[in-house]
C-alpha cells in the first residue's frame, strides 16, 4: 500500500505542478530556472500536495465564502457597487523564507527610519530644502505638504505606521515602488486576510512553522498607550465613515485592536483638547490613529472643505505633540519624486547605504526632465503618471500613460499638461514583475505580483508585520505600481527560523475592573442615533411585511368569514401615505384584486421609506454605519436581505404564493435579528437605544392602525372580520382565542391590544418598556420630576392605564368612537414628541454639522 500511496502522491503532484512553467528569463518565487522547487516552499508543498484536488476545490470555495461573509469584498460597506474593488484570497499563500525576510525587514525598516527623518526635516528646519538636497518645488507643489503643520509635532517621531509596495524585476531584484505614510494603508485588510485564510489553511499554517502576526499587533497595543500617554480607552481610529471605500479596513483594525472607531463629526476640540461626543457628554481622546488624509483633517487650518477631522485639530496637536499618528502632513513622503534622492538622503541622514532601491524614475518638475519627455520617441515605453497616488488602498494605484499607447492628440495634450504642471508628474519605464504561484482548479499558474508590507515604530526602530498582502499585478507590461484592481491577493507567510511560540489571543486587554464602562456611557452619540433608527427600521419592516402578508392571505375567504377588503385597503394606505410619494392607487371597488395591486405598489422603489424597498434600504444603511458594533450573526442576518435579489425587483413579478413565501422568510429573518439582539446583546445603552427605537415604532404602528380601523364609524357586518384581521396583524389571535374562546369582541380586543401590559404586541407593553429604558438612560433624572421625556412617557402610560376598554369601544352619536380617537391622538402626539426629545438630548450634537465661514 505505501507504494500505491506514493504513486498517488506523484500523480497529484503532476496535476498541481504539471503545467507550472514560468516564462524563460523571468524570476519565479516557487521554482528555480531549472524547475526545482525552492527550499522555502518545500515544507508547505509537502503538506499541501497530498490533499486530493477535490478537497482543494472545497477549501477554495470555503475560503471564498469566508471572504464574502467577513465583508472583505468591499461592497459590503459601499452604498453602491460603483468603483468597488473585488477582493479574493488565493488558496496558496505567498511564502517568504527566513533569510529573504531577514533582508527585507532590514531594508524596509531602514526606509521607514529614513522617511521618518525626512519628515522631521521637512516640517522642522528644512535644511534639506535650504541646501537643495530635495528640490523645494517638489515639496511646495504638492498639496500634501501642509504648511500650517510646520514645527507642529515638536520632539515626536512623526511616522508610526509605515507601509511600502515592493516588487521583484525579472532577474529577481527587489525594488520599492510606492511608500505609504499618510494612512494605515490597508493594514486591516492584511489582518482580515490572515484571519480568513487560516480558517481554511490553519492546519498547514501550524505545520509549516510560519510566523504569527498577533505579536505585532500586541506590540501596537502595548506601544501606543505609552506613545500617546493615553489609556487604551481614549485612543481612537479616525475614519472617513462608511461612504469611503476603505471603511472596512478601518473598522476591522478598530475591532481587532479594540480602539474606538470615530469620524470627524464625532470629535470636538475644546480648550485645545480633543473630545468624543458621547451619550454622557464629552470624553477625552488622547491619541488618534489617522486613517484620513491630512489635508482634510481640519477645516479651520487646512483644506477649508475638509471635514474629515474636527476643526482646530492642528491647534490640539500644537498643544499635545504626538496626539495624531501618523503626524499631519506625512502624505508628502508619498511623493514619487523623492525616490531618486533617497540614496543621498540615506547617506546624509542615516549614514547608511540605501538597501532597497527605488524604481528608477524622474520627477518632471525640472525643465531638463520635461524636455527629455518631449524629445522621447512617440513609440517610447515611458510611462507618465502622477507624483502622488492618494489612494492607500492596496491594489488601486492609478495607471499611468505610456507614450506608445497614446494617439497623437492625446500625446500633445499630455505634453501641454506636463509643461504646465510637470511638478505633479513623474516618468519611468516598466521594469517588469517576477512571478509567483497562484492556485487554480487546473493547477498552479505563475502570476506577476507585487506586494505591500507593513512596519510600525517600536522604540528607536521599526518592527515589521511578519506577513502582508501579495497581489496579482494587472497588465504587468505597463504597470509600474501596485496595480491590482481585481483584488486578487495572497496572504504572505513568513517562514520562522525558530519554533513559533504558541498562539496567544490578541483580545486580552489589561482591564481595570473599576473603570470598565459596563453601561456603555461612552457610546458615541452617532452610534446611539444609528442604533435607535436600526430599531425603528427593523420594526417598521416587520410591520410592513405583516400587513402585506395578512392582506394577501385574507383576500381569500377563511372559515366562512368574508374578508374585509376596506380594512385591508385602509391599513395599506397608511403606509403609502406616510411614504410621501406621489402614488396613484387603484380604484376602490371592494375587490381582492385591488389589494394585490396595492401590495405590488408597496414593493416598488418609488413608494418611499415605508414601502418594502425603502425600509430595507434604510435597514441596510443604518446597519452598515454601525457594522463594527454588530455581531457577525446579526450582520449576516440583516445582510441576507441584500443578498436575496427577490427583495429588489422593481415590480415583484412573483405569484401570490411566492410573495407570501418571501414575506414569511423576511418576517422570520427579522424575528431572528430580534432574537439575536435579545439573547446576545449586553443590556447596555446600545441595546436600550435599539429597543427604544423598536418599541416606539411598534407603538406608533399600533396607534395608527387601531385609529384607522376602529375610531371611525363601522359597518356592523364587517366588524368580526375586521377584528380577526386586526388580531392577526398584531400576532395576538392565538392569545385571544386561548383567553376568550369566542368570536372577537371589540372591547376585549381593545383591552388585549391597548391596555394589556403583559402582551408584547400591546400598546401598553411598548410604553412600559420605553419608560423603563428611558429611566435607565444616562441623562435621565432619578427624582420624581424627571426630565421632559420622562414626563411625556409617564403621561402617556398613565392615560393608557386609566382608560376603560368598554368606554373606548363605545360608539358616539356620530357612530364613531371619539374616546378611542382622542386617546390614540394623544398617544401619537406623545410618541412623536418623545422621538424628538430623545434625538435632541442624545443625538443632537451629531446633527449640527460644522459650517465654514469666511469674511466676504
Amino acid at each position: 500500500m505505501p507504494g500505491n500511496r506514493k504513486k498517488a502522491a506523484e500523480m497529484l503532484r503532476g496535476t498541481l505542478m504539471g503545467d507550472y512553467s514560468p516564462a524563460a528569463g523571468t524570476f519565479d518565487e516557487l521554482v528555480t530556472a531549472k524547475g526545482v522547487v525552492k527550499p522555502g516552499w518545500q515544507p508547505f508543498l509537502h503538506q499541501f500536495q497530498p490533499i486530493p484536488s477535490i478537497d482543494q476545490n472545497m477549501m477554495a470555495m470555503k475560503l471564498n465564502r469566508h471572504v464574502y461573509e467577513n465583508g472583505l469584498a468591499h461592497d459590503v460597506y459601499a452604498e453602491t457597487d460603483e468603483s468597488a474593488q473585488p477582493w479574493g484570497i488565493d488558496l496558496f499563500p505567498f511564502i517568504i523564507s527566513a533569510e529573504e525576510w531577514s533582508w527585507l525587514s532590514q531594508a524596509v525598516t531602514q526606509r521607514a527610519r529614513l522617511m521618518n527623518e525626512v519628515m522631521k526635516d521637512l516640517y522642522g528646519n528644512q535644511s534639506l530644502l535650504q541646501n537643495g538636497t530635495i528640490p523645494p518645488r517638489m515639496i511646495f507643489s504638492d498639496p500634501s505638504f501642509l504648511k500650517p503643520c510646520m514645527s507642529l509635532n515638536q520632539g515626536q517621531e512623526p511616522i508610526t505606521f509605515f507601509a511600502i509596495d515592493i516588487a521583484r524585476d525579472h532577474s529577481g531584484n527587489w525594488r520599492a515602488i510606492d511608500t505609504h505614510t499618510e494612512t494605515t494603508a490597508g493594514i486591516g485588510f492584511a489582518i482580515a486576510n490572515r484571519v480568513v485564510h487560516t480558517k481554511v489553511m490553519g492546519d498547514i499554517f501550524e505545520a509549516c512553522n510560519i510566523r504569527r502576526e498577533a505579536s505585532f499587533f500586541q506590540n501596537i497595543q502595548n506601544t501606543l498607550p505609552g506613545l500617546f500617554g493615553a489609556d487604551d480607552r481614549n485612543i481612537a481610529i479616525l475614519t472617513h465613515g462608511l461612504q469611503h471605500g476603505n471603511y472596512f479596513d478601518h473598522a476591522y483594525l478598530a475591532r481587532y485592536l479594540g480602539y474606538k472607531l470615530v469620524q470627524g463629526s464625532d470629535l470636538r476640540v475644546v480648550g485645545g483638547n480633543v473630545y468624543l461626543k458621547t451619550l454622557s457628554g464629552l470624553t477625552p481622546i488622547d491619541g488618534i490613529i489617522r486613517c484620513i488624509e491630512g489635508q482634510r483633517a481640519d477645516p479651520l487650518y487646512l483644506d477649508p472643505t475638509g471635514f474629515h477631522g474636527p476643526a482646530n485639530l492642528v491647534q490640539a496637536v500644537a498643544n499635545k505633540p504626538g496626539l495624531v499618528v501618523n503626524a499631519l502632513g506625512s502624505g508628502i513622503l508619498e511623493n514619487r519624486g523623492l525616490g531618486a534622492h533617497l540614496p543621498e538622503l540615506a547617506n546624509s541622514l542615516l549614514g547608511e547605504a540605501l538597501m532597497l532601491p527605488e524604481s528608477e524614475r524622474s520627477w518632471l518638475g525640472t525643465a531638463e526632465a520635461r524636455n527629455k519627455v518631449l524629445k522621447a520617441k512617440a513609440k517610447s515605453n515611458l510611462i507618465i503618471r502622477p507624483a502622488r497616488e492618494l489612494s492607500g488602498r492596496p491594489g488601486l494605484a492609478r495607471r499611468g500613460h505610456r507614450l506608445a499607447d497614446l494617439s497623437k492628440s492625446e500625446r500633445q495634450a499630455l505634453y501641454r499638461e506636463i509643461e504646465m504642471k510637470g511638478e505633479h508628474y513623474v516618468t519611468e519605464e516598466s521594469q517588469g514583475f517576477a512571478t509567483s504561484p497562484r492556485w487554480t482548479k487546473d493547477g498552479l499558474k505563475p502570476t506577476p505580483f507585487a506586494m505591500r508590507l507593513y512596519a510600525m515604530r517600536n522604540g528607536d526602530d521599526y518592527e515589521m508585520l511578519p506577513g502582508g498582502i501579495a497581489m496579482q499585478v494587472d497588465d504587468p507590461k505597463t504597470a509600474v505600481a501596485l496595480n491590482a484592481p481585481d483584488g486578487e491577493t495572497s496572504d504572505i507567510w513568513v517562514v520562522s527560523d525558530q519554533p513559533t511560540p504558541p498562539f496567544r489571543s490578541l483580545l486580552k486587554p489589561n482591564i481595570n475592573l473599576d473603570e470598565t464602562d459596563r453601561n456603555n456611557a461612552k457610546l458615541p452619540s452617532r452610534v446611539a442615533d444609528n442604533l435607535y433608527w436600526l430599531g425603528r427600521y427593523t420594526e417598521r419592516a416587520e410591520w410592513t411585511m405583516r400587513l402585506m402578508r395578512s392582506a394577501l392571505i385574507q383576500t381569500e375567504e377563511e372559515r366562512g368569514i368574508v374578508p374585509d377588503i376596506g380594512a385591508m385597503r385602509n391599513t395599506l394606505e397608511i403606509l403609502i401615505s406616510k411614504g410621501g410619494g406621489n402614488i396613484t392607487l387603484p380604484q376602490d371597488d371592494n375587490s381582492p384584486q385591488q389589494i394585490e395591486q396595492i401590495i405590488r405598489i408597496l414593493s416598488k422603489s418609488d413608494v418611499g421609506s415605508f414601502g418594502l424597498r425603502g425600509v430595507l434600504e434604510n435597514i441596510l444603511t443604518a446597519a452598515r454605519k454601525i457594522r463594527d458594533r454588530l455581531s457577525l450573526e446579526a450582520w449576516n442576518n440583516l445582510n441576507s436581505f441584500e443578498k436575496n435579489p427577490l427583495w429588489w425587483h422593481e415590480v415583484t413579478p412573483l405569484r401570490r404564493d411566492d410573495t407570501i413565501d418571501l414575506l414569511n422568510e423576511g418576517i422570520s429573518t427579522l424575528a431572528a435579528f430580534s432574537g439575536i439582539t435579545q439573547e446576545n446583546m449586553t443590556r447596555n445603552y446600545s441595546w436600550r437605544f435599539l429597543q427604544i427605537g423598536k418599541r416606539l415604532e411598534r407603538a406608533l404602528d399600533k396607534c395608527e392602525v387601531l385609529q384607522t380601523l376602529f375610531a371611525r364609524p363601522l359597518q356592523k357586518e364587517n366588524q368580526v372580520s375586521r377584528l380577526f384581521f386586526m388580531l392577526k396583524l398584531a400576532d395576538s389571535l392565538i392569545t385571544y382565542r386561548s383567553r376568550y374562546r369566542f368570536s372577537p369582541d371589540l372591547t376585549l380586543v381593545l383591552d388585549l391590544l391597548i391596555c394589556d401590559e403583559s402582551n408584547p404586541r400591546a400598546l401598553g407593553y411598548q410604553l412600559s418598556e420605553i419608560s423603563n429604558h428611558i429611566n435607565a438612560l444616562p441623562k435621565s433624572s432619578p427624582d420624581q420630576a424627571g426630565t421632559e421625556e420622562q414626563r411625556v412617557i409617564l403621561d402617556a402610560i398613565t392615560k393608557i392605564r386609566l382608560a376603560n376598554p368598554a368606554d373606548l369601544a363605545q360608539l358616539d352619536i356620530e357612530n364613531g368612537r371619539s374616546n378611542l380617537n382622542f386617546l390614540l391622538d394623544d398617544q401619537l402626539a406623545a410618541l412623536t414628541s418623545l422621538s424628538e426629545l430623545i434625538s435632541r438630548r442624545y443625538f443632537s450634537l451629531t446633527d449640527e454639522q460644522p459650517i465654514r465661514v469666511h469674511t466676504p
Partner: protein
C-alpha cells in the same frame, strides 16, 4: 504718510452658535517699509481662548475659540500705520525668462515656494495663454508684468456680485468680472504658470470719494494685490490689477501669503448658528 484703519466685522446668527473657532489675520505684519504705531483687536463675546502666534508666512495670526452660546459676534481691529515708501523708479529689468531661471537655480526658500501654484491659483491652458500675450519672448519682466496688470484692469469689470470666495479663477477669466481678490488671484496664477515667484498681498487701500462728495463712514474694504519678484536688483515689486497701479503710499500691507486662504482676515468653523448675516465696516483715514 500715517493711516488709521478701523475694521469692524459683525456676524449675526439666526440660531445660537454653540461653539466657534476662528483664525484671524486682522493684525499688521512687520514689513520694512511700514511702522506699526498702534494696534488693538477686540472680540465680543470674549473668547474662551485666544492664542496669538506668527504663522508659517510670518503673518501675525490669532486663533480664537468662543465656547459660550452666542447669536452675534464682533471683531473690531484698529491699527495705526506709517508708510515709509518712496515712489518706485523702475527703468530697466531683466527678461522674464532670465528671472524664471534665476529663481529656479536659487538656493534657500525665499523665492521657490512662491513660484509654485496654490489651490486658488492653479495653472491652465487658458491662464497660460492669457499670460503669454503680455509675456512675449525676452520682454523685460517689469514691463510685461505691468502690461498684464493693465490688461486685467481694462478687460475685467469690477463687480462684487459676480463672484464669492469660492469662485475659481477659471470662471473669473471666463466672466471677465470679479473683485480685487479675483484679479489678484488671476494675475498670480498667470505669473506662477510661468514659474515666476509671486506673493498674494492682503491689506487696505485709501479710497477717495468722488469729487465734491463726503467719504461715507465704513465704505472702505480690505484690499488685495500681489507682489512679483523681478530679479536680484529690483527684488519684489507690488502690482495692483484692480486699480492698474504700482502700490506705494496708499496701500497698507497687512499680510503675505500664497493666496487668500493663507491670509483671509477672518475664517472660522462653527457649530450651530443656522443661517447668518455678516456686516463689515472698514474705514481707512489719513492721520497727522
Amino acid at each position: 504718510m500715517k493711516y488709521q484703519i478701523d475694521h469692524k466685522t459683525i456676524y449675526n446668527y439666526i440660531a445660537p452658535v454653540v461653539q466657534s473657532h476662528h483664525i484671524l489675520h486682522l493684525s499688521p505684519r512687520v514689513v520694512p517699509h511700514q511702522n506699526i504705531l498702534s494696534h488693538t483687536l477686540i472680540i465680543d463675546p470674549a473668547p474662551a481662548s485666544r492664542i496669538d502666534f506668527v504663522d508659517y508666512n510670518q503673518n501675525p495670526t490669532a486663533n480664537v475659540t468662543i465656547e459660550q452660546d452666542h447669536s452675534n459676534l464682533q471683531f473690531h481691529a484698529q491699527s495705526q500705520i506709517e508708510i515709509l515708501l518712496t515712489p518706485p523708479e523702475i527703468t530697466q529689468s531683466p527678461p522674464w525668462e532670465e528671472v524664471v531661471n534665476i529663481a529656479a537655480q536659487s538656493k534657500g526658500l525665499e523665492l521657490l515656494p512662491y513660484s509654485c501654484w496654490s489651490l486658488l491659483t492653479p495653472p491652465s491652458a487658458e491662464i497660460l495663454e492669457y499670460a503669454k500675450i503680455s509675456f512675449t519672448p525676452k520682454r523685460p519682466i517689469h514691463e510685461a508684468a505691468l502690461d498684464l496688470t493693465a490688461r486685467i484692469f481694462t478687460e475685467f469689470t469690477f463687480d462684487n456680485s459676480a463672484t464669492d470666495v469660492s469662485t475659481p479663477i477659471s470662471k473669473v477669466l471666463k466672466m471677465k468680472r470679479g473683485v480685487c481678490q479675483d484679479f489678484a488671484h488671476l494675475q498670480i496664477a498667470c505669473l506662477r504658470a510661468l514659474r515666476l515667484p509671486t506673493k498674494y498681498v492682503s491689506g487696505y487701500l485709501l479710497t477717495h470719494p468722488p469729487e465734491g462728495m463726503q467719504k461715507l463712514a465704513g465704505s472702505d474694504a480690505s484690499h488685495a494685490w500681489l507682489s512679483v519678484w523681478c530679479g536680484n536688483d529690483l527684488g519684489w515689486v507690488d502690482l495692483d490689477p484692480t486699480n492698474n497701479m504700482i502700490p506705494y503710499n496708499e496701500h497698507i500691507t497687512f499680510a503675505y501669503g500664497m493666496d487668500y486662504d493663507d491670509v483671509s482676515p477672518i475664517s472660522g468653523v462653527l457649530i450651530g448658528g443656522g443661517s447668518q448675516t455678516v456686516t463689515v465696516a472698514v474705514d481707512v483715514a489719513q492721520i497727522q
